[in-house]
Each structure stands twice: as structure tokens, then as C-alpha cells.
Subunit: 391 residues, 2 copies
Amino acid sequence: MRVFIAGADGYLGWSLTQYLAGRGHTVVGADALLRRLWVSEMGSTSAVPIASIDDRLAAFREHCGYRLRFFTLDLRDHRALCAALAEFQPEAVVHLAECPSAPYSMIDFKHAEFVQANNVSGTLSLLFAMRDHCPEAHLVKLGTMGEYGTPNLDIPEGFFEVEYRGRRDRLPFPRQAGSWYHWSKVFDSHNVSYACQLWGLRATDIMQGVVYGLGTSTDVRLNTRLDFDQAFGTALNRFCCQAVIGQPITAYGDGTQRRGFLSLSDSMQCLGLAIENPAEPGEYRVFNQLREVLSVTELAAVVRSAGDALGLTVDIEQLDNPRLEASSHHYRPDSEHLRDLGFRPSAPIEEEVRDMIRGLLPHRNRIHRYADQLMPTVRWRQSPSVPEETR
Amino acid sequence: MRVFIAGADGYLGWSLTQYLAGRGHTVVGADALLRRLWVSEMGSTSAVPIASIDDRLAAFREHCGYRLRFFTLDLRDHRALCAALAEFQPEAVVHLAECPSAPYSMIDFKHAEFVQANNVSGTLSLLFAMRDHCPEAHLVKLGTMGEYGTPNLDIPEGFFEVEYRGRRDRLPFPRQAGSWYHWSKVFDSHNVSYACQLWGLRATDIMQGVVYGLGTSTDVRLNTRLDFDQAFGTALNRFCCQAVIGQPITAYGDGTQRRGFLSLSDSMQCLGLAIENPAEPGEYRVFNQLREVLSVTELAAVVRSAGDALGLTVDIEQLDNPRLEASSHHYRPDSEHLRDLGFRPSAPIEEEVRDMIRGLLPHRNRIHRYADQLMPTVRWRQSPSVPEETR
């Protein structure tokens, strides 16, 4: 299948590029390379050294058997995007090209506005470009389980049958996001859904849980990134980096907040299934993509026991929750659609975490140098930050 | 009360400025004057001649008793907005400063992207500016009934109690907008709601029906605009302009689609009630603001009979619906909150429409000159418009 991956230089994107090539697909990549800049802006770097895009492309050619066509482009550059899609004529378009950080969006107005405008405009540009240049292609867009928030109801996959005052309808499940970033993902989900209704585009919107884990590669140039800073590092990846350098695991709040998780390799398997089993023309379907639900406390315990097994001493420290989120809440998301398509989780989380810690040990010094960036300084309810000039 | 009106040069904004001044409030206005440009871009003009902003301000001073402070500013200019709010210290902020046209957003990618980015960034800028400079002020933001779409359920005011698989919660009512513009209003509603939760701002979000009617003023410089072009003219205002120039009323589709309506003077009364009865700190409340629900066919009949009474011949022509919207659907929106605050509709629609047609007759030639712009050329499901260069 001809697959266009927007965001091909990112954590998921660079893994997916290789995963799909390994399954015989013809992949084209696009990326504005902004993730590298955002992580530098946070004063951090990838725990695993990553190659420049040129070196990545050279290694891809050596190992994957063909030259990967790569476009350095921002989705907001509508003309360049149209030209790329018109040339490649993809059968599937994977959209991983958004700014993916809640804390980054909570820094200040400038960052909130950037994240929302960037994500909304980029997605809208992609939808119009697909309408005009590859209307038959299947869009696989990455959303997040965070779009739903934590309602006191089970969470269906995107839609639910509801009865109200004696009448029934099938409606979009209400979204209650918890950061400016998460709201931007809600906005994009709405826009994708509307494009399917309006133009008959076909799309799968993936409400993904928190992804953890290292990629595996024989050539270091094929490594995917692994971030651990407060903005771009996800919970479990951060915890493993802390275990590796002997920093206590920083669990936010009372640790009872529960989320869906899945490993990087499970994420690849799921995205592959979505791509290889496209939606029908005009169909907008939502997949909740997660393997299991765990509380932050359970997560920390998994890391501690994996650390113990490897001879590391892992302490756990409860921090005031910098975020605004519910504790001790109901959390039972459906995730049947991907299982129906054949998703079979690979290794259990304990094993993945052990492998991750083992894989991170050689990079201990590198992580240590940026250890300060593991600590949360961005607070959801910070006191208003008023620049001097406008006070 | 000290009231800051963003969008003070618009159809509602200029009326509200005078209405609130008349009720003894101290008003400050802000506007980037873009509506004037957008209507020119559509090749049209206001049916009622309107004065320049300078002449408007001079007339306001003569008739309303004080000098209206006016900021020519775009909400997206965050620094200028912060300075204005810091200086004025409003007790209420009314947000009417969005691009308000569904057809305008459906022209092409550029317009869709502009409308969404403009509305989302402007609203976000306003929220942060309020957090930093007047966190106690009450935000009254204009949304639209179009955010809800036409579900097969009654439409509550923003939230509903729902039972699902044996559990209950109070959730935001799902939004199903019908244009890129309407979605932008949904996004803004989400952002306003989140700012209340996050920072304890207080807000009233007005889901307004379609407004019709002429403003009344003794001095022509105080006239508010009345648009009739396909993009910025609302249904009933367009129909009355058609009646005045003897052009058949263009009813879209089979005319069974139903919407909420209210007159300009009822809108002023409602906005005044919301402003004078502020939400509590941290409260995000939603008012459905409409007087009555009518189908397009019923609307056209009202205009025809008012026209008859004034000696005009009014034909009705069914046009292919350029929009994508349901016909013969359920439509029963709640609108109790404003009635509970004391909203009492003024004149019945028949009377308002008669007054409007009478008031438009002197401008017959002016409307006639722009009659072409009454016809819809923007189609929701147009064939893809691919610029030559990227084909």
C-alpha cells in the first residue's frame, strides 16, 4: 500500500515508517522537524541518541531496501502539501504531525495559542489537500484518550446511543479535555469527522492511550527518539529514565488517576491494523487504542519492581499534581474495535519496562545531564504570568 | 457597570453599545473593523448606510452623553488587548469579535482556515488577557444555536444528565456543527468552558438563534449595519431585502429545516440580562437565546404576508440547498434560563418584519445595486476547487 506519513521524524512516526516498510508497504515521509526544536526549547534531548534526518534516510535505504522519499514540510504550508500528495497519490495518509504535549501548551498564552493554531490549521490543511488530491485515500489520524477526560460513565469508541426525554439518537460522546493541547486534539477530531460527512472522505481517528517503550533497531541511525523531559516525555518513559539515573520516580498527586497504556510495539501493531483495514468511503470511525488501564501508583510499582530485578534502587516520591485532573475516578474505556481486527498485545508491561530500563542503562550519563528537565515546573493553575510591560 | 465590548463595530456590537449606554453602563468598544472588509470582499455592502467609526463615535458623544473610548484592535494582538483591559478594568466583557459567517468559511481552504484560526486564537487571547488583567470580570461570549446541529433529541442549555450502561453523569451536550465556521464556535465554547474550570473565570455562553431586524436610531450616524449578501446576511434579513427589491425570496431546499429566531431588540434585551445578572466565579453557564422556532417555509410566508400588507409582490422560489443540512428534523431547544431572568419578547415576528421592510424601502436602490450578492454561489459540497498551479 502507498502510505504517506506526516510526522515521520517523531517518536511514533519514525517507528511506523520502519514498521510499515517491513510489512511491504511503500512509505513516503513528511515532517517539519519541529519536535527536535521543541525538545531543545525545553532544555532537553532524546534519551536515546538519534541521527539527523539525512542519516536516518541513508540508513533506511541500506536496511529497508528502497529510498524513502521524504518531504521537509509543515502541513500548514498548504501548497507544498498539495504538491506532495498530488505527486505520491497515497492510498493511506497517517497524521502524526501535531504538537503532542499538554504541558507545552500550558506554559503561557504564546504556547497555548501556538499548539491550538498549529494543530487545527495543519489538520485542516491536510483535509483540504486530501479532498483535492487523493479523496479516496484513508486518513488515519492520531487523537488521544485524553479527549474524553474522565466522565463518570464507561467510555465508548467515539459514539454512543443515548436516550433523553424519551427520544433516542446516536451521538458523538462528549469530550472533556484537560489541557489546551488536549482540546486542540478534540477540535481536530471534530474537523476530521466533519470532512467525512461533507466530502465523503474516509477516516480512522485513533484515541490512543499513553505510549511507552524503546524502539528496536540494529543500526543506531534507525533509533527512534525517547523523550523524558516534563513536556514531551510520557509518564512511563519518564519513570524509567528516573529509575536508570537513581532519581526518585515523581508520581503526580495521590497516584489514583487511571489512564490507558500501550507499548510502542503494540501501537505499531494497532496502527498497522487500522491502515490495512481501511474505513469505508464517507465513514468516520473511532478506535480507542490501549492495552490496559493502570493507575499512576500501579505504574510506579511496575517500574520499581523492574528496577529491583536489574539491581537498581527505585524510590517513589509523591509530588503535588501540577495538572488539574480527577483522582479516584471511574475509568472504563471500550477498546474492542482493534481487538476485532486482530490486535493481540505483545509482551506484558513488566517485560516491556524491564527491556526499556535495560536499553536505557547505556544512556545513563546522557539522561543524567538533563535530569533537571524531568521535574515539572509547568503548572496548570499557575499564578497569572503578567509580562512586566503590560502590568 | 463597566462593560468592554469586543466587536463593537458589528451588527450586534454597535447596537449593544448604544443599548447598554442607554441603560446607564459605561461602555468601552474594541473592533478591528474587519466586518466592513469581509462584506466588501463578498462584493456587497450594508443595506442601511453606516457611518465611519469616527462619525459613529462623534454621534455617540452627542447622543449618549459621554465620549466612548474605542480601541481599534484585533483580539489576536495579545499585547494591545492586555493593555486595553488593564487600563479599563471592565466588570463585564462581551465577546462579539469573531468572523460570523458559515458561507464565508465554506468558500475554500484559505477562508476555512482563516475563520477557524482567527476565532480560536482571538478567543484564546481574550481568555488569557482576562485571566491576567480582569479575572473577576464576567465574560459574555456569543456562540450559536448552530453548534448543536439537529440531533434527534431535545436540545438542553449546554449540559444534560445522561444515563449510560447503568451509570449517570452531567455532561456537555454533544455538538454537531454544520460548517467550518460553526465548528470554530464549538471550539471557542470548549475553550471558554475550560478557562472557567482552570482559572475560575466566570462566563455566560450564548447559543443564539438567527437574529433579524433593523436597529432604530434618530441619527443616521448611529445606524447599525444590515447585511444581505449570501455570506453575512442572515436568512430573514435577506428575505426582507429581496421583498423590498421585488426579487423572489430564495428559500433553500424543501424549506422544512427549522431554526430558532429572535429580533435584534430581543437580542439586546437578552444580552443585557446576561450582563446584568453575571455568572458566579468559576461558573460556565450556557443560555439558548431564541424567541421562537420556525421553518424556512414559515419564515418566507411571514415575509410574503408582511410584503402584501405593504403593497409589495413577494414571490418565493425554492433553490437547491447550497448547504448540507437535515430537512424534516426534530427541533426543540430549551430556552428557559433567559426567561427565568426576565426575558419578555417584544413585538411579534410579523410586526418586526413589517417594520423591517418599511425601514428598508428607502434603501431599495442601494440594495438593488448589489442584488446579485443575494444569490448563493458558495456550495457546501462544491466540486474540489484545485488551483491551476497544483493540479
